[in-house]
C-alpha cells in the first residue's frame, strides 16, 4: 500500500496542468471562477482545443480516439479539469452516448457519430426522464412504433439539459407496451431537426435555463438509429448510469470551491476581522474539508481498484461517491451563500446569449451568481438517480437487503 503518486504520475499531472493553464481561454476560466454560466460557444471552443490535443474523449478506447491512459491518469485528467477550472467535456456525448455506442452500437453508428462527438460537431442531449417517469424511470411511456424502415415516436421527455443547443437526442422509448416494463424499452438516436419535435424551456428556481421539455409528435426516426437490439434499451441505460456514478463525485470541483470560499471569506469582514477568522464559520468549513478529504481517498480507492476489477460490478466504495459528492457540493454552496450575507438578495440575471442584462453589478461584483448557484445546486442530489434511489440501489446490490 503506497498512496503516493509515482514520479511518472506526477509528471503526467504537471503536463496536463500546464496544458490546461496555457490552452484554456482566460474568458472561459473567469466565468467558471465566478460561478457564471457558460455559453454554448465556450464549451464548443474548449472541446475543440482538447480534440486537437487528442484529449477530447480521453476515456474511450484508443481506436475511437481515446488516450489509453491508466485509471490514475484518467482520474488526474478529470481532477485537473475541475481544479483549473476548465469546462467538462459535454457529458451527454463523451461519457454517455459515446460509450453506449462503442459498447452496443453498429459500426455505421460508430463511424458516423463518434468523431463528431469528439469534436462537438454534434451536441447531444439525454431523453430519459418523463413527467410520469422520474425515479421510476422504467415506467416511461414515450412510444416508438415500427412503420417500415422507420419508428414513429410520440410522447414527452423532460428535464432535458441544454436541449436548446442540441443537434441530437438519445432517447429511451417504449417499443413493446405488452412486455414487463423494463423489457419493452429501446435506445433510439433522434435528430433534433426532425419535424414534430418541439423544445420548450423550463426555468429553474435560480432563474436559469438549463433544462427543457421535449415533445415528440409523430416523429419519424430511421430504423438504423436504433442502438443495439430492440427492447434491450434498459440494459444500455443501466450501463450508462453505472458509468455516470464514478464521475459524479466532483472532488476537484469541490476543492476549487473550497479555495474560492477561503479567498472570499478572507476578504469579507465581520466586525473587525475577516469572516474566515470567525470560529463558527471556520469550523463549518473545516468539517467540509474533512469530508472532502475522505471522499477524495474513497475516490482514489475506486480508481486504484479499477486495475483489479473483474467484470462490470462496481466497487462498493463507488456507490457512495454520488451521495457524498453531491452532499459536499451542496455544503460548499451553503458556505458561499453565508459569505455573501445580505448581498445575496439582489436578483441579477446572468448575461446570456438570448437575454442581455447589462446593468452594473449590485453590491460586491462577485455576489450576483452566489444565491442562484446555491439554489441550482440542490439539483445534484436529484439528477442521475436521486440520493434516495442510490440508497435503494446500494441496499439491494451491495448489502443484499
Amino acid at each position: 500500500m503506497d498512496l503516493r503518486f509515482t514520479t511518472e504520475e506526477l509528471a503526467f499531472r504537471d503536463e496536463v496542468r500546464a496544458f490546461f493553464r496555457s490552452a484554456l481561454p482566460a474568458s472561459i476560466r473567469d466565468k467558471l471562477l465566478a460561478n457564471k454560466g457558460l455559453a454554448k460557444n465556450d464549451i464548443v471552443t474548449w472541446q475543440r482545443i482538447l480534440n486537437k490535443k487528442g484529449w477530447a474523449v480521453a476515456n474511450w478506447p484508443v481506436e475511437w480516439g481515446g488516450t489509453g491512459w491508466t485509471p490514475v491518469q484518467q482520474y488526474m485528467f478529470q481532477e485537473e479539469l475541475q481544479l483549473t477550472p476548465a469546462p467538462q467535456p459535454l457529458g451527454f456525448g463523451v461519457t454517455m452516448v459515446g460509450p453506449v455506442m462503442i459498447a452496443f452500437g453498429s459500426e455505421e453508428q460508430k463511424k458516423r457519430f463518434l468523431p463528431r462527438i469528439a469534436n462537438l460537431d454534434d451536441w447531444w442531449c439525454q431523453g430519459f426522464s418523463e413527467p410520469g417517469a422520474g425515479s421510476d424511470l422504467a415506467s416511461l411511456r414515450t412510444s416508438a412504433k415500427r412503420d417500415g424502415d422507420h419508428y414513429v415516436v410520440n410522447g414527452q421527455k423532460t428535464w432535458t439539459t441544454l436541449a436548446q443547443h442540441a443537434d441530437w437526442i438519445f432517447c429511451l422509448v417504449r417499443t413493446d407496451p405488452q412486455a414487463k416494463k423494463q423489457e419493452g424499452i429501446s435506445f433510439l438516436l433522434i435528430d433534433m431537426k426532425t419535424p414534430g419535435i418541439t423544445v420548450r424551456p423550463i426555468v429553474t428556481i435560480d432563474g436559469g435555463r438549463e433544462v427543457n421539455e421535449v415533445f415528440f409528435d409523430d416523429v419519424a426516426v430511421p430504423a438504423e438509429n436504433l442502438v443495439g437490439e430492440e427492447n434491450k434499451g434498459w440494459d444500455y441505460a443501466k450501463y450508462l448510469l453505472g458509468r455516470e456514478r464514478t464521475g459524479i463525485a466532483r472532488v476537484g470541483f469541490s476543492k476549487e470551491r473550497v479555495r474560492r470560499i477561503k479567498e472570499l471569506a478572507a476578504a469579507e469582514r465581520v466586525g473587525d476581522k475577516p469572516l474566515l477568522e470567525d470560529e463558527r464559520f471556520r469550523e463549518k468549513l473545516a468539517a467540509v474539508e474533512v469530508e472532502l478529504k475522505a471522499l477524495e481517498m474513497t475516490q482514489l480507492r475506486v480508481v486504484a481498484a479499477e486495475r483489479n476489477r473483474v467484470g462490470n460490478k462496481p466497487d462498493p466504495a463507488s456507490s457512495i461517491l454520488k451521495i457524498k459528492g453531491s452532499e459536499i457540493q451542496q455544503a460548499t454552496t451553503e458556505l458561499l451563500l453565508e459569505i455573501v450575507g445580505p448581498y445575496a438578495l439582489p436578483y441579477q440575471p446572468e448575461h446570456d446569449e438570448e437575454e442581455r442584462w447589462n446593468e452594473p453589478p449590485i453590491g460586491p461584483e462577485w455576489a450576483g451568481p452566489i444565491a442562484p448557484t446555491y439554489f441550482n445546486t440542490r439539483k445534484v442530489s436529484i439528477y442521475g438517480g436521486t440520493n434516495e434511489i442510490q440508497k435503494n440501489i446500494i441496499a439491494k446490490a451491495i448489502l443484499g437487503l
Binding site: 500500500m1 509515482t6 473545516a286 475522505a294 462498493p316 457524498k324 440508497k391
Partner: protein, 383 residues
C-alpha cells in the same frame, strides 16, 4: 498509487484473522476479561510468537521492521476482535517513544523484551485538568544530582495497572500549558513513591489512576530531549491516532456486518425487517460512514510517517474527526437497528458500540480536532 497489500502483509492479515478466529470468539473474550489483569497472558504470548509485538521495531532488536501499514492491519483485526491486550499501550505508544526518542542503549534494553512479550508499557499523560491538550502538564520533574524526581498525578492511563514500565510526561520548565519545558521519563512501575489504582473501563479494557510522589528516575530513564520533548510526544500520539483509526474501522465494519445480518434474519409484521426501506437507508448511511472512515484510516496510515510535523498533525486530526463522527453514527444506528437485543450485555454489538465510543475520547474527540484544525486553518484538502 496503490491500496494493495504486499504478499507479506497479506500473510500477516491472514495469520491475524486465523488467530482471532481461534482465540477471540465472544465467549473467549469474556473469560479473558474476567482474569485479574483483564487480558490474556496466553494470547499475549501468541502475539509474540506470531511476531506481532515486534512489528514496528528494527530487526536488530528482535522486530520485523514493519511500518504504519502493518500496524494498521493489526489494529483493524484487534478492532474486529475487540482485543483486550495492551498492544496499543505497549507496542504503539511505549514502543513509539523508544523508536523515536530512545537512545541505542534504551532501545537495546527494552525493545527485545517488548517483542518477546516479557515486558509491557503504558503511557501516563492525561491529567485531571488536561483533557486533550498534550502540553497541559502539571506533574513535575525536579533534578536531584544525576537523577530526576517526579511528583504529580496521571489519570486514565490505558493498561497502566499492569504495565511494567510507565512512560510519563512531566514538566521540567515553563508554565502549565507551555509546549516548551516538557520531559518524557520511563519509570519502573514498582518504583518507590509510585501508587496505582487500576479499574475496568467502559469498553472492557483496563486503566489506572497513578500518583507519583517523589519517584526517582535515573538518567537512563530520560527519553528524548529534556525540556523539548513535545514534538516527540506529538509524533508518537499521531502514530497512536492512526492506529486507533484502524481499530475503529475494525469495530465499525463488525457492527455494520452484524447489523445487516440482523436485518436479514429478524422478522416482524410477517417479513424480514431488512425489507423496510427506512431501515435499508439507515444501513446504507452506516456503510457510507464506514467507508469514509476506512478511507481516512488509510490516509492516517499514509500520513503517520510524514516528517513535516504540521502537515502530519493536520492530516491525523482530520482522520480523527472522521473516525469520531463515523463511529458515532455507525454505533448508534447499530444499536437502534438491533432494537432491544442491542441493549444487552450478552450480545456482541453493544461491546463494539462501547469501544467505538471510547476511541473518540482518546487523544482528542471529533470536536477537539475539528476546532484545532479550524484554528490552524487546516490544509487537508491540499495535502
Amino acid at each position: 498509487m496503490d491500496f494493495d497489500l504486499t504478499e507479506e502483509q497479506r500473510l500477516l492479515k491472514e495469520s491475524l484473522d486465523r488467530l482471532i478466529g481461534d482465540r477471540y470468539a465472544f465467549e473467549q473474550r469474556k473469560s479473558y476479561g474476567q482474569a485479574p489483569e483483564g487480558w490474556s497472558r496466553e494470547v499475549w504470548a501468541q502475539f509474540a510468537e506470531l511476531g506481532l509485538l515486534g512489528l514496528p521495531f528494527a530487526e536488530k532488536y528482535g522486530g520485523s521492521a514493519g511500518g504504519p501499514v502493518e500496524t494498521m492491519i493489526a489494529m483493524e483485526a484487534f478492532g474486529r476482535a475487540l482485543a483486550l491486550e495492551p498492544f496499543l499501550a505497549t507496542v504503539v505508544l511505549g514502543g513509539g517513544f523508544l523508536r523515536h526518542g530512545g537512545s541505542a542503549d534504551q532501545c537495546a534494553a527494552i525493545i527485545p523484551k517488548i517483542a518477546d512479550g516479557s515486558l509491557t508499557l503504558a503511557f501516563a499523560q492525561t491529567e485531571r485538568h488536561s483533557r486533550y491538550d498534550l502540553a497541559d502538564i502539571s506533574t513535575t520533574a525536579r533534578r536531584d544530582g544525576t537523577a530526576w524526581v517526579l511528583d504529580g498525578e496521571k489519570g486514565v492511563v490505558l493498561h497502566g495497572d499492569t504495565a511494567d514500565k510507565l512512560i510519563v510526561t512531566a514538566r521540567v520548565g515553563g508554565s502549565q500549558r507551555d509546549r516548551d519545558g516538557v520531559g518524557v521519563f520511563m519509570v519502573d512501575s514498582k518504583a518507590a513513591g509510585l501508587s496505582r489504582r487500576g479499574y475496568p473501563t467502559q469498553d472492557g479494557l483496563r486503566a489506572a489512576e497513578i500518583v507519583f510522589s517523589g519517584v526517582r528516575v535515573g538518567p537512563e530513564g530520560v527519553l528524548g530531549e529534556l525540556g523539548a520533548a513535545s514534538p516527540l510526544v506529538e509524533r508518537v500520539v499521531d502514530e497512536a491516532i492512526a492506529a486507533l483509526c484502524a481499530e475503529a474501522v475494525g469495530t465499525m465494519s463488525a457492527m455494520h456486518e452484524l447489523t445487516v445480518d440482523y436485518l436479514k434474519t429478524r422478522r416482524q409484521f410477517g417479513r424480514e425487517i431488512g425489507s423496510f426501506q427506512i431501515l435499508q437507508h439507515r444501513a446504507v448511511d452506516m456503510l457510507i460512514a464506514l467507508e469514509q472512515a476506512r478511507s481516512m484510516a488509510m490516509f492516517a496510515t499514509m500520513m503517520a510517517s510524514e516528517e513535516d510535523a504540521p502537515v502530519r498533525r493536520d492530516a491525523l486530526a482530520a482522520a480523527k474527526v472522521q473516525i469520531g463522527r463515523s463511529g458515532r453514527l455507525v454505533g448508534q444506528q447499530a444499536i437502534q437497528l438491533h432494537g432491544g437485543i442491542g441493549m444487552t450485555m450478552e450480545y456482541k454489538v453493544g461491546h463494539y458500540f462501547k469501544r467505538a465510543t471510547m476511541i473518540d475520547t482518546m487523544f482528542g474527540d471529533a470536536d477537539h480536532h475539528l476546532r484545532e484544525l479550524a484554528r490552524r486553518g487546516g490544509s487537508v484538502v491540499a495535502a
